[in-house]
Symmetry: C2
Subunit: 206 residues, 2 copies
């Protein structure tokens, strides 16, 4: 088997082990066993537990960002873009709960270098959402009606809400990706004010 | 000076040092010096760096939760309650940036026991917000119109958005507590949909 493919198997096993057992508790022995390779081969290819964990963070960050970007068609109206992006985000985090646990919990809990790795991904998603809200605001309201600082703040709010809901959806039995996406879409687009009047956002109503 | 007062001085110095230099880089020497006491006295009173950090997390968690609770008058309409709560939250996090750095960044980045401490506070805030949204929904819509699961998800979204914005406000020069509160109030109450129509929530308009 070519090295690149072997490495992906090792990363698959590592993401599962780090996500489920935590960074500290995970052992290189169990990762090697789960990957079906010898422990020396894991060290040969990925150097150390720290480097293996970093490689997991980088691969899973890239996969999550790619899933969201691929889902958003910039030709759609802003609310549809947001809906498609949220659906892809929660679809990815619920289908890959171990990867999300690595990114959102483990990477942030085990020291600065890992936290910095995941901060890079977060900044990329914030920039993407800032662009989406900024374009929508200029199209709907005209230039400068929503200040750049306001747009930046709204993007931070939306990303923080999505992170929080992804953790909650994965920890709460019976919450599907679609429900999590719908909850955030309603919160973010309609706002609590409209929800309290019984108004809901729905993809089909627009 | 009585022991309780000395301990508060030590905690003041520790929060400042941990918040600004990070948990790992902070030394007991500099904390003792900043508190104006000897290092052995810090160890005598607070046992270890780990215990001192835990005491910081507990004190600052309690202070933040108390500030938010004190600001919210349950007799007010739901949007006013939310506004008062957000104003108090961002007022506290911007006035005590070192405390917020300890709670939101340091406590989550340096291992499970500290992360678990701060999770207790987060759960308390989520429960408080869940109660607020739940009461508002029952009053506006009637029983069961907004399912408990929806209410829980909205509370998670709101708390995640607030955490994200608090970090952003403290890292971004020129963003005041009031601006951060207004951004989140508009996001959470009006939603992006109304904001795109030029509609804003304002405390005076209601």
């Amino acid at each position: 088997m070519p090295r690149a493919m072997r490495e992906q198997q090792m990363l698959d096993a590592a993401v599962q082990t780090f996500g489920q057992r935590g960074y500290r508790a995970a052992s290189m022995d169990e990762i090697a066993e789960l990957a079906g390779v010898s422990k020396p081969l894991v060290y040969l290819y990925l150097n150390s537990k720290e480097d293996l964990f970093t490689a997991c963070i980088r691969r899973e960050s890239a996969a999550l960002v790619a899933a969201v970007r691929a889902a958003v068609d910039p030709g759609l109206p802003a609310d549809r873009q947001l809906w498609e992006g949220l659906t892809a985000f929660f679809g990815h985090t619920t289908e890959h709960p171990d990867a999300w646990a690595v990114l959102h919990r483990q990477a942030r809990t085990h020291g600065e270098p890992f936290a910095a790795e995941v901060a890079v991904m977060r900044d990329e998603i914030v920039a993407f959402v800032t662009g989406l809200i900024g374009v929508a605001a200029r199209e709907s309201l005209g230039d400068g009606e929503l200040a750049d600082k306001d747009v930046a703040g709204l993007a931070q709010a939306l990303v923080g809400a999505a992170e929080s809901l992804a953790g909650w959806a994965n920890d709460t039995p019976g919450v599907s990706a679609r429900e999590a996406a719908a909850t955030l879409m309603n919160f973010a687009w309609e706002g609590l004010g409209n929800l309290m009047k019984g108004q809901r956002w729905s993809p089909s109503a627009r």
